[in-house]
C-alpha cells in the first residue's frame, strides 16, 4: 500500500498527532465488536475509508482486501466465485469489517475442523505506533521469510497497530453438506464427538445444547452421504440447518442474548476454550458446546474466579463475553508471557497510542 494514498495518509497523520500529544486512539471499523474485550479508550480512529478488495484471483485461493471493507461485501465477492472464508467469522451486523474480523480473531462453528482466522491470514500491511506502514507475510500460502508478524495480528485487538490491508487464504465452498441431529445428554454428546473426531469423517461443525447434538458434515457428495448413512440421526432441512449454524456463528441464538434482567441477576456469558476431550465443566447455569467439545459457552452467574478455575481445570481459559465486566475479560497470562506481551507492545507501539488496555490493563 502506498502511504501517500489519501485515506492512509490521514491515518498516519492522526497517529503522529496522537503520539505527539500522548493521546490514545480507539481503532474502529464498523463498531460491531465494541462489546468485546476490555472497554475501548481514546479517540475513535475510523478505518472504514480504507475499503475495497485490492486483489482477488480465485485460482490462487487468496484474496487481498482493505481492512475497512465490510465483511459481508467480501463474503459476497467470494461466494460469486464459489469460495468462502471457511472459518465462519461472526457477523454481528452488516457493518462488521475485515480488519475487525482479524483484530478480534473470532472464528465460528467450523473452526475445530478447518482452522481459525489466524490460520487463514497470509499477510498484512499495518500502521505501527511510529507511523510506519509495514508489510509482513504475503499473498502466498507458504512463506517463512522473517517472523510471522501477520498472524500475530489475529486476535491482537488492535494493540500493536492499525491493520490496513490483509491477505487471506480462501477455500472452495463444499460441494455437499448435511446437518444431522441427535438426542444426547452432555456426557453422551462429548463421548460421541470424541469418537467421531478420531475417525476419517467429513465432520465440519458440531454443537450441543439443551439435550440435542447437531453435527454438520461437509465435503464431497459421496463422503457426506456415506457419513450420513453411517452416523444416523435426523437430517435437518437445508434452510433449518443454515438458520441453526448462522445463529451460532453470528450469536443470534437466544442463548447468547442477555437482557437487562439477566444482567441485573448477575448473569454473564462466558466463552471457555478448553481441551476438546475435557470432562464436563461443572458450573451453575446453562451451556452450549461447539468445536467438538473445545468451545464451551456458559451463561452463568458464577464468580469470575470460579469460571476461570473451571476452564483451567479443563486445560484452557475463559473469556467474559457479555454481562457485568467488572471482572477482567481475558484470562491473565503468566509473568513470563506478560513480559513478552509488554516487549511486543513496546516494539510496535512504544507510546501506547493504540487501544490501550483493550486486551490487558498493562498493555
Amino acid at each position: 500500500m502506498d502511504s501517500r494514498e489519501p485515506a492512509l495518509a490521514r491515518l498516519i497523520d492522526r497517529v503522529a498527532a496522537a503520539r505527539a500529544g500522548h493521546a490514545a486512539l480507539d481503532i474502529r471499523g464498523g463498531g460491531t465488536k465494541v462489546f468485546y474485550g476490555e472497554p475501548p479508550r481514546g479517540e475513535p480512529l475510523d478505518v472504514t475509508p480504507l475499503a475495497g478488495i485490492s486483489c482477488y484471483e480465485p485460482t490462487e485461493l487468496v484474496v487481498t482486501v482493505r481492512a475497512g471493507t465490510p465483511l459481508c461485501e467480501l463474503e459476497a465477492a467470494l461466494e460469486a466465485q464459489g469460495q468462502c472464508l471457511p472459518f465462519e467469522p461472526p457477523r454481528f451486523s452488516e457493518r462488521g469489517t475485515v480488519g475487525g474480523m482479524v483484530a478480534a480473531g473470532l472464528s465460528g462453528p467450523a473452526r475445530a475442523s478447518v482452522g481459525s482466522v489466524r490460520d487463514h491470514v497470509l499477510g498484512v500491511t499495518l500502521l505501527n505506533g511510529r507511523g510506519e506502514v509495514l508489510t509482513f507475510g504475503g499473498q502466498v500460502a507458504k512463506n517463512v521469510a522473517g517472523y510471522d508478524v501477520s498472524r500475530l495480528m489475529a486476535g491482537s485487538l488492535g494493540i500493536l497497530g492499525v491493520i490496513c490491508e490483509v491477505s487471506l487464504k480462501v477455500l472452495p465452498i463444499s460441494r455437499a453438506a448435511a446437518t444431522l441431529s441427535f438426542e444426547r445428554d452432555e456426557i453422551e454428546a462429548l463421548e460421541q464427538l470424541r469418537l467421531w473426531a478420531s475417525q476419517p469423517l467429513p465432520m465440519n461443525a458440531s454443537a450441543w445444547h439443551d439435550g440435542r447434538l447437531h453435527v454438520r458434515l461437509a465435503g464431497a457428495a459421496a463422503a457426506v452421504s456415506e457419513a450420513c448413512r453411517k452416523l444416523g440421526g435426523t437430517q435437518l432441512a437445508p434452510d433449518a440447518a443454515l438458520h441453526w449454524w448462522s445463529s451460532l456463528r453470528d450469536q443470534t441464538e437466544s442463548f447468547f442474548a442477555l437482557d437487562a434482567a439477566d444482567v441485573s441477576r448477575g448473569e454473564r456469558l462466558w466463552r471457555l476454550s478448553v481441551a476438546a476431550t475435557a470432562a464436563p465443566v461443572k458450573l451453575p447455569g446453562r451451556q452450549l458446546i461447539e468445536w467438538h467439545g473445545a468451545e464451551r459457552w456458559w451463561r452463568t452467574s458464577a464468580e469470575a474466579r470460579e469460571v476461570r478455575a473451571a476452564a483451567a481445570l479443563a486445560g484452557g481459559h475463559a473469556t467474559l463475553i457479555r454481562g457485568d465486566k467488572s471482572a477482567a475479560v481475558f484470562t491473565p497470562v503468566s509473568e513470563a508471557l506478560m513480559r513478552i506481551h509488554q516487549g511486543l507492545k513496546q516494539a510496535f507501539d512504544p507510546k501506547r497510542v493504540f487501544n490501550p488496555g483493550r486486551l490487558y490493563a498493562e498493555l
Binding site: 480465485p58 485460482t59 490462487e60 480473531g105 482452522g115 489466524r118 490460520d119 505501527n128 510506519e132 509495514l134 508489510t135 509482513f136 504475503g138 499473498q139 502466498v140 500460502a141 507458504k142 512463506n143 517463512v144 521469510a145 522473517g146 517472523y147 510471522d148 508478524v149 500475530l152 489475529a154 500493536l160 472452495p172 470424541r194 478420531s198 475417525q199 476419517p200 469423517l201 467429513p202 465435503g219 464431497a220 459421496a222 463422503a223 456415506e226 476454550s273 481441551a275 476431550t277 468445536w291 486445560g315 484452557g316 481459559h317 473469556t319 481475558f330 484470562t331 491473565p332 513470563a336 508471557l337 513478552i340 509488554q342 516487549g343 511486543l344 516494539a347 510496535f348 486486551l359 490487558y360
Partner: protein, 499 residues
C-alpha cells in the same frame, strides 16, 4: 590435551573465551554432555547447508530440561550466543554455529511422551523425528500430517523452528496449523509455554510468532501436535503436458473447479529425466512437465474426486494420464518426486536448492525466466514445484571444484529469489532464511520492516543470545548488498555473517 582449566598461559582470545565458557558449562552440567574438543564438535560445524562451516566453541547435549535451562542461564549470563539444533537437516543454515557461540543439541530429547488417541494429539520431545510421530500414531489410525521430504530424519523441534511444510500442506496446512502448544525456555533459562491444549490461548497469539522463528525467540523442548485420522485411501494421477504453460494452466483449473488435492506437484522435463534415471518409475520423458495430483479420503470420496480431476486435466490438454491402481503404484509415482534431491546429486557434483514461493499463475513466466538465467550464468537448473501452493524448488547444478561455478551459482540463486519477489512471491517458502537468505531479506523487506523484526526479537530475547545473526540482516549488510547488487559485482563469501 585440552582441559577446560588450562588457561594459565597467554592464549589467543578465542581459546581463552572457549576455556571460560567450557569451564562454566562443565561446572553446571554433567561432563558427558559438554563437547569442546575439535574432533568432537566437528560434526556440528554445519547443518545441511554444508557450504557454510563454523567450528562452535562448545556443543551441549542436554538430557533434561533442567540441563537446558542451566546451559541457557550460563550463556545468557556470559553473553555467549547459543544455537539450538535438532537433526541438522535444515537447508538454510539456521543451525550453523557462531564462532563465539555454543551449539545446544536437542538430539537426546527423543521421547514420545504421550499419544492421546482420544484427543488426537501427541506430546513429544523436540528431538523426536517427524516420521516417528506418525509411526507411533499409526496403531490408532492417526498420523501427523506435515511431511517435509526429510521427514525420516528431521526433528519436530526443527519443524517448529522452520514452520516446515511438505507435499501435503495445500490440504493439511503447515507446522503451525498442526501444533497446539510448545514448551521450552526463554534465552535466560526461564520456562515458558506457548499455545495450550485448547484451540487457542489467552492473550496475543505468540505461538504464531514462535513457530517459524528459527530458534531466535525461545528454545523448544516439547511439542504437542495434532494428529488426524489417516485417510482410508489415497490415489494419485500422473499427467503429462506438452508445454509448461498448459501444465500451469491445468493447476489453476484444478483449483478453479473447487478441488483441493491432497498433493499437487510439478516436475519439469530436465528434472523428470534426472529422477527417471534414478528411480526407473516409467515417467513420461517426452513431457515438458509432469503433474502429480493426489486425492485422499474415503473410497467414495476419492472415486468422486479422481473422476473430476481426470476430467479437468484432460480438458486442460494433458497428453497422457495415468491413475494409480494400487498403493504400490501410487508410491512409484511419488518415488521420483521424493527423490528429486538425491537424483540431482547423481547428475551433478553439487547442486543448490532454492525455495521461493510465487503466485501459481506466474509459474510459466518464472520458468521462462529461469531458462534465460541458465544461459546467463552458464549453469543448468532442474525444477520441482509444489504447484498447489506455489512453492518452487529450482535445483541449480554446479561443480564447486570448477573455477567460478560456485560464484555463478550464488548469483543465479539470488536472481531467482529477486525474480520471485518481483512476481509477488517470497524468498523462502519452507526452508527458512537462516544464513543463506540474509541478503535476499534485504530485497523483500524495507529497512523499517527489518527493524520491526529486530524489535520482535528483542521482545523475546533482549540480549540477542539465541541464534544471533540469522534471519534479520543488519542495515550495514543490506547497504553493502545493495551497492554490490547495483554494480552486479562479485560478492565475496556472501554466506559469511558480517557481525
Amino acid at each position: 590435551m585440552n582441559t577446560p582449566h588450562q588457561a594459565d598461559v597467554q592464549l589467543p582470545s578465542r581459546e581463552r573465551r572457549q576455556a571460560e565458557v567450557v569451564a562454566a558449562l562443565c561446572e553446571a552440567l554433567p561432563r558427558s554432555t559438554v563437547l569442546f574438543r575439535h574432533e568432537d564438535s566437528t560434526p556440528y560445524e554445519c547443518d545441511a547447508l554444508t557450504a557454510y562451516r563454523i567450528s562452535p566453541m562448545a556443543v551441549v547435549l542436554p538430557e533434561t530440561e533442567t540441563q537446558v535451562a542451566a546451559a541457557l542461564r550460563i550463556c545468557h549470563r556470559m553473553g555467549v550466543p547459543i544455537i539450538a539444533r535438532g537433526a541438522g537437516t535444515g537447508l538454510s543454515g539456521g543451525a550453523t554455529p557462531h564462532h563465539w557461540g555454543v551449539i545446544l543439541s536437542l538430539a537426546k530429547f527423543n521421547q514420545i511422551l504421550k499419544i492421546d488417541a482420544d484427543a488426537c494429539t501427541a506430546v513429544v520431545q523436540s528431538g523426536v523425528r517427524n516420521l516417528a510421530i506418525s509411526e507411533a500414531a499409526a496403531p490408532f489410525g492417526l498420523y501427523y500430517a506435515p511431511d517435509p521430504s526429510s521427514q525420516i530424519a528431521c526433528s519436530i523441534g526443527g519443524n517448529v523452528a522452520e514452520n516446515s511444510g511438505g507435499v501435503h500442506c495445500l490440504k493439511y496446512g503447515l507446522t503451525l496449523h498442526n501444533v497446539l502448544r510448545v514448551r521450552g525456555f526463554m534465552a535466560d533459562g526461564e520456562p515458558v509455554e506457548f499455545g495450550s491444549q485448547a484451540l487457542d490461548a489467552a492473550g496475543l497469539d505468540l505461538l504464531s510468532v514462535v513457530v517459524g522463528s528459527e530458534g531466535m525467540l525461545a528454545v523448544i523442548t516439547e511439542v504437542t501436535v495434532k494428529l488426524i485420522p489417516k485417510p482410508q485411501l489415497a490415489r494419485c494421477i500422473m499427467a503429462s503436458f506438452g508445454d509448461i504453460e498448459s501444465a500451469g494452466a491445468a493447476v489453476a483449473s484444478v483449483i478453479a473447479h473447487g478441488i483441493i488435492p491432497a498433493g499437487l506437484e510439478l516436475m519439469d522435463q530436465a528434472m523428470t529425466a534426472a529422477v527417471e534415471a534414478f528411480v526407473h518409475a516409467d515417467y513420461d520423458l517426452d513431457a515438458a512437465a509432469i503433474l502429480l495430483c493426489e486425492s485422499d479420503g474415503t473410497a467414495e470420496e476419492v472415486a468422486e474426486e479422481i473422476a473430476r480431476m481426470e476430467e479437468v486435466l484432460n480438458a486442460a490438454g494433458a497428453s497422457r494420464i495415468e491413475v494409480s491402481c494400487d498403493e504400490a503404484q501410487r508410491l512409484k509415482f511419488w518415488s521420483g518426486r521424493k527423490n528429486a534431491f538425491p537424483a540431482s546429486g547423481s547428475i551433478s557434483p553439487d547442486y543448490m536448492c532454492m525455495d521461493s514461493t510465487i503466485p501459481r499463475r506466474r509459474l510459466a513466466e518464472m520458468l521462462r525466466e529461469i531458462e534465460g538465467m541458465q544461459a546467463k550464468y552458464g549453469l543448468r537448473c532442474v525444477n520441482v514445484f509444489h504447484a498447489g501452493d506455489g512453492n518452487l524448488h529450482p535445483l541449480i547444478l554446479f561443480d564447486a571444484a570448477a573455477p567460478d561455478e560456485m560464484r555463478r551459482c550464488e548469483l543465479f540463486g539470488a536472481d531467482i529469489l529477486e525474480t520471485s519477489v518481483r512476481l509477488g512471491g517470497t524468498v523462502t517458502g519452507e526452508h527458512g532464511v537462516g544464513l543463506e537468505k540474509l541478503n535476499s531479506m534485504c530485497v523483500q523487506f524495507a529497512p523499517a520492516e527489518r527493524a520491526q523484526f529486530l524489535a520482535v526479537k528483542h521482545a523475546f530475547d533482549p540480549l540477542e543470545t539465541l541464534n544471533p545473526g540469522k534471519v534479520i540482516p543488519t542495515l550495514h549488510r543490506c547497504a553493502e548488498y545493495g551497492k554490490m547488487h547495483v554494480h552486479r559485482g562479485m560478492l565475496p563469501f556472501p554466506g559469511l555473517p558480517r557481525f
